[in-house]
Point group: C2
Chain length 415, copies 2
């Protein structure tokens, strides 16, 4: 019965994979901004090809919150992120494996990246003890005790069956001391080796597709530590690299500086992934600094709170100011919510606490993010990245500044 479940894929990769003809993981840079570090690329995975720069919606716990998968596919999404920490706790990676892996369990035809659980262990769980072996913590769900190691992270991610596996790293909060940063960089390096060893040397062929390991560069906002971390991890010759430990409370200029510095230290021919970032302006600025991959809960989380994205910044559609506004969320948007519904209707749904409010706002925000990425890719292809990025940034910042001023004056978004 389950084998007959229909696919929304149009490219035949599903059938190819079943026939054992799935391509190995690869990354190609297809164009570069002549005036900067931005690049257009293509990830080849066993679950389809993905154009970069790419934004990965976050499918925390087996679902991109409030999004039916066909609607997610229609936003142009071809790669999503799954959270190992959440899936390990519920429903459990062994259950997911038993039911055919995460792609099949959640009914997602595209590609999957899973995080290492490191970020959640260090930020969400009640932390008990970090040792060289791993991290002991208590679940945020029921207080139960768990011990996470690099090897367990690999076991979980291999069981989930993701196309891209993240190494288990030591992620520090913002404001850590230089000594703490140095120790975390060193531990992250040693743990990355253990992950590589537990993950077939960094590439594993299983279940009909290749799974590859990415390592995560740490180092806080210390240039010297970023250099040490990058040098050690690049030496492991993995399929891709992430920039971790940013967007954890540091000032924006420091985030930009560390992104630029770290991206430049990573191999030009391999994908670069900036973890957990961010707002549209953060994404544009980071693409300009050579980043290829992004994930962030912002579009989905903001949507559930009644905040939607427009070219001119955020719009808090649940506010009373929009009760009679017949225009769509974003006049330039072609998403299912904007094609059919007004701001006034969305405002009403949030007022009445109708589930359809978060559903439609999520559709809009993810469509909007993917349109942004498509615009950046088209600009790179046309060798117009600098001008297009500058225009998008100016509109976004203008709108956000105007919004702040209106809030101060008691305007629409203040009500």
């Amino acid at each position: 019965m389950a084998d007959e479940r229909k696919s929304v894929r149009e490219d035949g990769a599903d059938a190819a994979r079943r026939a054992g003809a799935s391509p190995p993981f690869a990354f190609r840079v297809e164009a570069r901004d002549p005036a900067g570090a931005a690049r257009l690329g293509r990830l080849v995975t066993g679950h389809g090809e993905i154009e970069t720069p790419v934004f990965m919606p976050v499918g925390t716990c087996g679902a991109v919150k409030a999004m039916p998968f066909p609607a997610l596919w229609e936003t142009g999404t071809r790669l999503i992120l799954g959270n190992s920490y959440h899936l390990y706790l519920r429903p459990g990676h062994r259950l997911v494996a038993e039911l055919g892996g995460l792609h099949r369990f959640q009914g997602w035809d595209g590609a999957l990246l899973t995080d290492s659980a490191g970020f959640q262990v260090f930020s969400l769980a009640e932390l008990n003890r970090v040792t060289e072996d791993g991290v002991q913590f208590r679940s945020h769900l029921d207080g139960s005790r768990h011990f996470f190691t690099p090897e367990l992270s690999m076991e979980i991610q291999l069981a989930l069956g993701s196309d891209i596996i993240m190494a288990f790293d030591h992620c520090l909060p913002g404001g850590a001391s230089a000594g703490e940063v140095a120790a975390a960089v060193e531990r992250t390096g040693r743990w990355a080796r253990r992950c590589r060893d537990a993950c077939g040397g960094g590439r594993v062929w299983r279940g009909g597709w290749e799974r590859v390991l990415f390592a995560v560069v740490q180092g806080g906002t210390l240039a010297q530590e970023r250099r040490r971390s990058a040098a050690e991890l690049v030496g492991l010759d993995l399929a891709g690299y992430a920039i971790g430990g940013l967007s954890v409370g540091e000032p924006v200029p420091a985030m930009r500086e560390m992104t630029e510095l770290t991206a430049a230290l990573l191999p030009a021919e391999k994908p670069r992934y900036l973890m957990g970032v961010g707002f549209p302006d953060d994404i544009i600025e980071s693409v300009a600094r050579g980043v290829d991959m992004f994930d962030c809960v912002l579009p989905t989380r903001m949507a559930r709170n009644g905040t939607v994205l427009t070219r001119r910044g955020r719009l808090v559609v649940r506010n009373e100011a929009y009760a009679r506004d017949e225009s769509p969320l974003d006049p330039a948007c072609g998403c299912p919510a904007c094609r059919r519904h007004s701001r006034a209707y969305l405002r009403h749904l949030f007022q009445a606490r109708e589930i359809l409010g978060p559903v439609l706002a999520t559709m809009h925000n993810l469509h909007w993010y993917q349109e942004l990425m498509a615009t950046l890719r088209a600009a790179l292809r046309a060798e117009r990245f600098g001008a297009v990025a500058a225009g998008l940034l100016a509109d976004w910042r203008d709108g956000e500044r105007q919004r702040r001023e209106e809030i101060e004056r008691g305007g629409p978004d203040a009500r």
Copy 2:
């Protein structure tokens, strides 16, 4: 901008209505069960044609809970119900009128029936006083005072712009005395006249389409009162008639008897609508007794609680018993949830309190109800209603009996 919002209609009724060529309301009986009272019919409205017997999903407050409108259209739904009480309180019928009426406000291309607010005033609101003039009550939302009259009910429904308007009736709870039932029948009659007078004699052409008034037969479980109520209301020569005051706690045999008796008293050439009913077996039994139209919150409300429908009765998919069940919710179903997802996945979504759980379960349950109605209509067309209805009833009752026995034994649905 809003005028460019795209339609999901495929029959051109939207354009015809804009061109002023919308057809007047009509009902035609197209086939009858040779062995009983069931009939196949067609409602013609300014927002499309609807085949009967029809099930109307309930769009309480401007949305069929958790259902995007294109997904609702895909279930085969062409007529939905809106609750005047809820829309009057929030966002307010005047605001909806200002924004072009309820069809446009919520972005629904099909036809709309609105209830009179009577049922909610008598059941949900804090009731203060019923007089001949109307009902004074307090809002369940904020305790504010309101006075509802037949005239206000018509004002609200005309402002909302529904295709079918329900007369404001006096709806009693189950167990009312004979004297109370008689008084409510008489008041319902007088109020129906006032509704007719406030609604252009029962038919109003406004906004490019015709709106028609249906009256509601009351009388509790007293045959004599049902006869009195029906006789008086039929004398008003309205476009259609509803059977109200059932499924309010009376025994099932009494509900069936009153449905059969009342349906037979109503004009054969006009649509008959059994309000607020019900379970699949109630619907099949009532179609067999000559009912054409149904509404009920069951499929949507059950879905939000993690209960889904199958040919063999209800299935509580949030139960642990389904944690490893790879089959779809209903093996015979072709809805978006069953085509893509397993019971195990749905169970996980409800466990993790993911919004996608209610969304997918609602899609399934509404698809399932509309498939049931389509099956009944096809049987009527093929003159096989008796056999088809008997088969569906036997499967449903068998499954439900088995479920009760399993719960007693501590089986799947008990966990």
